[in-house]
Symmetry: C4
């Protein structure tokens, strides 16, 4: 748990250095499978002031079990995702500008090339808008629910497409480690930027062929992956 | 007053580090409610050369009451806003490129997502153009007047929407402290950038639902705010 | 002359720090009115390797009168401009990306707001394309000629509009000092960036009213200027 | 060979400082004509961890002849290009965002101005898409083949146009030295950015006149080149 606090702290501090956040607009959490506890950033604290000791530990009911500060206001979203997305042990939420532009536009991010295919095995979906009722009560929990609903409804494998655009809001990414969740946040932002410009150059673009998607995703992630050492 | 000079000096120096200004294209002022005096940047002095002693103090008639340098050429705009916008004690003017692009385009900045809703409780309005008469005589004062007119005419609460786009010119932001005024300048620039790209991706976008605007603005600013510590 | 070499050297070195150049894509020169000599960057030498001693001095016939290196390949353009634009003592040429985008598009840069009006008293014009004959023989001299022609033909005062977009090429700026010429290069790039985005937001934009142009230009540059100390 | 390893190592490390790569999204190789061996980046290793000793040496059959790490997954592409593009001794592959946007859009990069003409003597072509068969078997080799095919089919001189956009993927650049290959990667990215904006400003743009292309390319590269010292 102390190790996880350190990892989550380091990951939160990395967000501004990757250019993903302004002020305190983002939070990273990590999940400890054994205890069923989530380590998350405290709410509204600047990244430079973060220390492992300031991380907040909550259980899967969202109750604080350790730490003196209030957890991120988005905690209920993270907790719900850990409950539903088995195998995910790190989640990142930011308002990174390019991915947020797509979220606000309500458009999914099509896989237009190999940069996308190397990390996301298909479109990064955009959720439907929440209803007024969903916003008024349990907003953060309902944000988690609409994310999970989006993946279930379209039968998207959340481990193969580790990110989502929340309609009118901003992106969430995740992974099998805190570090991978951050990596996916960086990649999503870069892909959102490149795809924006590709669409301006050619408004009729569609997704790359499934074969190219397979090739690039699987050479990095499949059982016969041959990228890296 | 010495404390306010320090704050205003620090705030002015922060503008280039936030990427909001080129050369001397921006100024910050602070208002001391007790004395009714305004502390403002001297005109045309580079940010690196600023010291608290170089700040200029003017009264609500715009007359210099302390300081050896000439105050910002935009002083009359600031002073008028302090007179009309009760509760405002910090004002920032910049030519930050994204907000200025919207000002030049004469378009209000709609709340397209939660990033905007976290700080601005509705559209950031764009003023009408000034008439030739308003430009020729008392230009800077009339800039302040058209800002106030914009808020009064559309019944916008200036404390809930702490920024404006001056048509053909550039943004002003403000707040209940000098620091908050600067924070709003940063947020306005970021929202202007993201909204620009959202509109390119989806030209038919409209404002987010009022419920979402309420939720995000009020979780940070309402009496039942629960964001932060 | 030694003083001018230092100024020209410092100005050349400032181009990459202002983000105006990649590799060696830009050059600054200065004009010594008394001797009629021009101090200019040596061709193809990286900015970090520049020293005042490496600056090249040429006369108004373009002949090297001092220095061991070859002068910038654009020397004939600079020299012609000094001959024709009286009062100009500093010239900057870059391929700064936003101004170059407008040059390649063959579009003049309209004054869309006060940022532009503060430094350029009207549109920054774009030259016509050079003919094949003008390109084949005396290309660099003809570049200078088409710049001068553009200002004469449209009766633009080169001291009030200290910049030009050369069609299919890139910008030149100038001023009454080497430092001002560099300042105008920075401002032109910033205005080109902002105007690009304004036009995307509102494709029907036209120049701001002459009264606003007068007000902003003259409060900084007229005989009754009141901006600065 | 030790010298070449150093050069290739330095060149790989320069990619992030030029802003061309995120994470490990790029690789540089160098070709030793005498031995017919290729020195290339190891796969998936971060740039900061690279040392000359970690570079991998492969022969023209793509077999590792020296080095303990696996070579870049794109090795077969590089090797094929060295076999076919005589005189090329350095190759760079990146996913630099602007050039990748054009690759994903499937559009060639027209020479819109002198910035482009200074380094690329005509359009930087975009390859056709690979067929499913070409992707499934020998993908990386087929990527090299489609690059060569593009140049042969359109009779483009690969030494005069040292770069290509691979459809749905990203750019490759090359040169007569490792350093020149990197330089062309930087220039291609810059030209892709500027051309993007030029086309937004004027969607009907076409290539600059052949005479201007000749003038700029040849004043830097022809036998009568007069740019530089």
């Amino acid at each position: 748990m102390e190790q996880l606090k350190k990892e989550v702290c380091v990951a939160n501090k990395s967000l501004p250095s990757y250019g993903l956040v302004t002020f305190t607009w983002g939070n990273v959490s990590g999940f400890d499978v054994d205890s069923g506890h989530v380590v998350i950033k405290p709410s509204g604290v600047s990244y430079e002031d973060l220390t492992p000791e300031k991380m907040v530990v909550v259980n899967l009911s969202g109750e604080v079990v350790e730490g003196e500060l209030k957890p991120s206001s988005d905690t209920a979203t993270h907790v719900h995702m850990y409950q539903e997305f088995k195998g995910v042990t790190g989640i990142v939420h930011t308002h990174s500008p390019w991915a947020t532009a797509w979220s606000q536009a309500g458009r999914e991010l099509l896989p237009l090339g190999t940069t996308h295919a190397d990390y996301f095995y298909g479109s990064v979906p955009c959720t439907r808008s929440l209803s007024s009722e969903e916003i008024t009560a349990d907003y953060e929990l309902n944000t988690g629910r609409v994310i999970v609903e989006t993946f279930r409804k379209h039968a998207i494998d959340e481990l193969a497409v580790p990110g989502v655009l929340v309609n009118g809001h901003a992106p969430f990414t995740w992974g099998g480690s805190v570090k991978d969740a951050v990596k996916h946040a960086v990649v999503l932002e870069e892909c959102a930027k490149i795809a924006f410009h590709s669409f301006q150059l050619n408004s009729k673009l569609t997704a790359v062929d499934q074969t190219l998607l397979d090739k690039h995703y699987l050479r990095k992630h499949g059982k016969d992956a041959y990228y890296g050492q």
